[in-house]
């Protein structure tokens, strides 16, 4: 039987999503539901002196109005930071209280203060306008670079500093720098991004007064984690009385990892008002309150020899956490960032120092790539600048510093199990026609245009696990994954997974894996996820971990099925289990060549007997049924890597930047479904190129979000991109039985520096910040003209 792993099978999800048959949270309605509207702070920083709900309560159709006072009285817990980070001086990070409804202070525009429940959405909106909040407006802290010198916005958080973290050895770095021929320096801003999932956040809560069970339908990337947090920290309900369902979810990109204020409030309130509740965010609320991404201010240096060998690296970064520390908020700029900042290179000495600060802006958390795009941007800008300043070809300088063997002990934390960085870059050069660039540059010049080429080589640590490793670094939970494979008596299979698909096509990929393991057609397999009452406990989907962790749990559960199947087949075929071979869905007795199909075995497991004879196919010590589960905790992270090359053309008159060519060569280990992987790369590239050229989240000095709609926030569109030129190299991961690596974030990690390196190349090396908007580029072109004229 041909292997399904590796083939371009059509997505099982296509029919559902393309014919509008998806079922999202907003599609769910419960009889007698009320509608929630949140009253949100219009100020970035204010003291809440009084919340008067009396007029709102009298408004037509209102069922209830609740505020931070009631939620505090009921001892409902706040939102949490999932990782504890220690400062260089050994002190623990400073985390302010983050109540689901702000009670004393509002710390960003959009922070919920109160909530109105009414019989209709219109009535809820009308009543929300009647909630009177008496604010004392305070001076907002907005700029992360100035946060440490501003008035503290939280009690007990001195200098607005959450932590001042160090990874690496300052002394060793100083020594390395002392030996260098040249120090390359960059000052970078990693622009803040709004994740912009197509489906806005939403929740529908149904409280059953008899069973006292709360069912929460929500837009989550990790329903079990949401339940755990709401139960253990939120005190909303015990886990057995809380069912969290994340049905079809239209994109997350990290912004749906957190359990948000609205979910906690509506779950708590549904029990209080004994009515179902529906809340659906409007797009403005998404802009204001979804966790944002990136937002770093970085100074970094690379010590090099004159022939381009890297000696040392230092990275001083201020990371903006926004108003509060959220689930991955504190780890994203530390362990997801610092270790990867030395990139794919052998650098004998390195450190990353990160100061994470609070500001009166929306909380910042993981966004596609989470820390690794920032890391890659830092090192790849440095490397490219080093090549320029040393006059060495930009691919050659990279080749020179790649590790020569694997496992590769990377400078700061990771031991990379496998890879071939040289092969990746060689392939990218070839596919991009790197050698032909100068001719293309001349051609552009003849047309009055500036052409640039940029390269970046990246690796990233994803497949976020293993538990012992992440917990040692401060994670509050283990990051394993689980699965259950359940045969029906008639042979179809349900695969339950703790991973959650919100665009990743798990229904297809996981079915391919299980079909290969079990030797059955894919059509016989259904993948079940997203419901804490159905699927096995799972830590969820983020950090490109579903296949490398969740997928392997499925493989292992399948292996247990086969092991049991062998025992049952052996008994039925009257041989010993080690004389049975399993192949292509059949258990074969090696000597006699007698067979039982896996379907027959499943049937026998559920219908274990026969007429006229007292005979069970179930061996002694085994039980009837054919269900197996597995928890998988991998031995290491997953380390995809690759090289990307971008060519841009700039019109100096307008500053318009056109991405002319984009080549991405990635090593994702073994690829299960090329269609799906290419889709993931495309999406990641669109977001990464978006960051480099278009997207930017801007607050004014009072903390008002100026880019709060698509009229002002530039989401890239299809016509902003060329056709992507994708290639793959493949070194199998040694850390899992499938040899697979994560692929979901790579595009967003590698592309911002690739594009910026190309833009800066076209601009003759002039630094420019992301996004490279037309006006910024135009100004740089003008400056270039001036300096060229001077030189001439």
């Amino acid at each position: 039987m041909a292997s399904l792993v590796g083939s371009r099978v059509e997505r099982k999800e296509d029919k559902k999503f393309l014919t509008g048959k998806g079922r999202y949270t907003a599609d769910i309605n419960i009889a007698n539901q009320t509608y929630a509207i949140f009253v949100r702070s219009p100020h970035a920083r204010a003291q809440i002196k009084k919340v008067d709900t009396s007029k709102a309560l009298k408004s037509s159709g209102v069922v209830s109005v609740l505020t931070g006072k009631e939620i505090a009285e009921d001892k409902i817990g706040g939102l949490i930071a999932g990782w504890a980070i220690r400062s260089e001086d050994g002190s623990e990070m400073k985390v302010p209280n983050n109540p689901p409804l702000a009670n004393e202070f509002a710390n960003f525009v959009g922070e919920p203060i109160a909530v109105v429940f009414a019989e209709s959405l219109d009535e809820a909106k009308a009543a929300a306008e009647k909630v009177e909040v008496d604010y004392k407006v305070l001076k907002a802290v907005v700029d992360p670079a100035k946060a440490m010198d501003s008035e503290p916005i939280h009690k007990d958080v001195d200098k607005n500093l959450c932590y001042d973290w160090l990874l690496g050895d300052r002394k060793a770095v100083d020594e390395a720098f002392a030996k260098a021929d040249k120090i390359i320096k960059v000052d970078l801003i990693n622009n803040r991004l709004v994740p912009n999932a197509m489906e806005p956040r939403a929740c529908v809560v149904d409280y059953n007064t008899a069973t006292e069970e709360i069912t929460l339908y929500t837009t989550s990337q990790n329903p079990h984690l949401s339940r755990l947090v709401m139960s253990a920290f939120g005190n909303v309900a015990p886990e057995n009385k809380l069912r969290v369902v994340a049905p079809d979810v239209g994109g997350g990109f990290g912004s749906k990892i957190n359990v948000y204020n609205e979910e906690i409030v509506c779950s708590w309130a549904s029990k209080k008002i004994e009515r179902p509740i529906k809340w659906v965010a409007e797009r403005t609320e998404s802009f204001l309150t979804d966790t944002h991404g990136r937002d770093h201010v970085t100074h970094a240096e690379l010590a090099v020899t004159k022939d381009g060998k890297f000696l040392g690296f230092k990275n001083e970064t201020i990371a903006n956490l926004g108003a509060y520390a959220r689930v991955f908020g504190t780890v994203t700029p530390t362990y997801l960032f610092g270790p990867c900042a030395t990139g794919v290179y052998v650098i004998p000495a390195a450190y990353s120092n990160v100061k994470a600060v609070y500001t009166n802006t929306a909380p910042v958390d993981a966004y596609r790539g989470a820390g690794r795009p920032e890391a890659t941007y830092t090192i790849e800008r440095l490397v490219e600048k080093a090549a320029m300043e040393l006059g060495i070809d930009k691919t050659e300088i990279r080749m020179k510093n790649f590790p020569s063997q694997f496992p590769f002990k990377q400078t700061l934390v990771h031991t990379v199990d496998s890879g071939d960085y040289v092969a990746g870059l060689e392939k990218a050069k070839q596919m991009a026609d790197y050698a032909g660039f100068e001719a293309r540059r001349k051609k552009s010049e003849a047309n009055g245009k500036l052409r640039g080429i940029g390269v970046s080589s990246y690796f990233e640590a994803c497949g976020i696990a293993p538990s012992a490793a992440v917990m040692s670094l401060g994670c509050g939970v283990g990051l394993w994954e689980s699965a259950e494979v359940r045969f029906n008596p008639t042979g179809q299979i349900s695969v339950f997974t703790g991973s959650h698909s919100h665009g990743q096509s798990h229904d297809t990929t996981f079915a391919q894996i299980a079909a290969d393991e079990l030797g059955v057609p894919m059509e016989n397999i259904d993948v079940v996820h997203g419901d804490t009452d159905k699927s096995t406990f799972g830590m969820g989907t983020y950090g490109s971990r579903s296949l490398t962790v969740g997928g392997i749990a499925i493989v292992n559960a399948c292996k247990k099925i086969i092991a049991k199947g062998k025992r049952v087949a052996a008994k039925m075929l009257e041989v010993s289990p080690d004389e049975i071979e399993f192949k292509d869905g059949e258990f074969v007795a090696l000597k006699s060549n007698k067979k039982k199909t896996i379907g027959e075995i499943a049937f026998a497991c559920y219908v274990p007997g026969q007429r006229d004879e007292m005979k069970s196919p179930i061996p002694e010590g085994d039980e009837p049924g054919l269900i197996e589960s597995a928890f998988y905790d991998p031995p290491n992270f997953s380390f995809p890597a690759g090289s990307h090359i971008c060519e841009v053309e700039i019109d100096p008159d307008t500053g318009n930047v056109k991405v002319e060519k984009y080549t991405a060569v990635d090593d994702f280990g073994r690829i299960v479904n090329p269609n799906i992987v290419e889709g993931q790369v495309h999406g990641g590239l669109a977001q990464g190129i978006g960051q480099a050229l278009y997207e930017n989240t801007q607050y004014d000095e009072t903390g008002q979000l100026m880019t709060a709609s698509y009229m002002d926030y530039t989401m890239p569109r299809a016509d902003n991109f060329p056709e992507f030129n994708l290639g793959f190299t493949c070194t199998h991961a040694t850390s899992n039985p499938l040899g697979v690596k994560g692929c979901g974030e790579a595009g967003a990690i590698a592309s911002p520096p690739t594009v910026m390196n190309a833009v800066i190349d076209a601009l003759g090396g002039q630094e420019i910040t992301m996004p490279a908007t037309a006006e910024k580029v135009w100004k740089a072109c003008k400056a270039m003209k001036k300096s060229n004229a001077k030189a001439a």
Binding site: T654, M711, T773, A774, W778
Partner: protein, 261 residues
């Protein structure tokens, strides 16, 4: 959105009768509906103009192109008659916003709204358009009064826009990458005895750049305006573009438009 009464009159007379100080005419809804949804505007009555047959359609004579108020941008862009008579106008309509906006947005809505970065007002100015309302005819240069402000009185309905067919014309636009409205749009029209350079996006309201128009009237070539530095003191400066950049774009696109004519 606050509740309102919806009306769908069959003719202009009925529509104007329904109008009051708390009513709104609904055309494509591309601007009016979002502003209602965001709570920026509330109305008691919404009077839909789209069922009024007379307000839609394109008529071309030897001297003029007349476009009915509820004619959609996509219809203007696709119209063979417009493409033949004033190709620049079809091009302008075809580059408005995105496909969804072009399939709903109307010329009447565009000019009545008079967004400082809308495209059509520049065509009206450069092509000496006459705006026909249910009460009078208004020349374009008297119609666009200021930011989101027109000569229309409450309850007055735009019925059609009559454009003068030029000898040559072109429209060049630098789209806002987010909304795709014009950061700057320049409409250059060469008529028998004059050249008009109308600019949108650059200031609080569409305007004729007198300097550029004059220079091109005496010499209709891009070299006539080569290197011209425009005064940017009244130009918009916002997060999308500075006044300095806009000034550069105006002279650049004026040149490009002349070259494309």
């Amino acid at each position: 959105m606050k509740t309102f009464s919806y009306h769908s009159p069959k003719d202009v007379k009925e529509a104007s009768k329904l109008a009051s100080s708390s009513s709104m005419f609904l055309a494509g809804g591309m601007t009016s509906i979002p502003s209602m949804k965001l709570g920026m505007a509330t109305y008691k009555d919404v009077i839909d103009l789209k069922k009024i047959k007379k307000l839609s359609g394109i008529k071309v004579s030897s001297k003029t192109v007349t476009i009915g108020a509820t004619t959609k941008h996509a219809e203007v862009a696709a119209s063979k008659d417009v493409q033949k008579a004033i190709p620049a106008l079809a091009k302008l309509a075809g580059n408005i916003g995105d496909a969804q906006v072009r399939n709903r947005g109307t010329i009447g809505g565009s000019i009545s709204n008079n967004d400082p970065s809308a495209c059509y007002p520049s065509a009206c100015m450069a092509l000496n358009a006459v705006i026909h309302t249910n009460e009078r005819k208004i020349e374009a240069n008297k119609f666009f009064k200021g930011m989101f402000e027109t000569a229309l009185k409450k309850g007055e309905i735009v019925e059609a826009v009559e454009f003068q067919i030029p000898e040559k014309a072109d429209y060049q636009k630098h789209p806002n990458p987010a909304s795709r409205y014009a950061i700057v749009g320049v409409f250059v029209a060469k008529h028998k005895d004059e050249v008009n350079v109308a600019v949108t996006g650059a200031k609080s309201c569409v305007y004729i750049d007198k300097d550029l128009s004059k220079k091109l009237s005496s010499d209709f070539s891009s070299s006539a305006i080569e290197g011209i530095e425009l005064d940017d003191s009244e130009m918009n400066s916002d997060m999308h573009a500075s006044a300095e950049y806009r000034a550069n774009l105006v002279s650049l696109y004026a040149k490009k438009a002349v070259e494309a004519c």
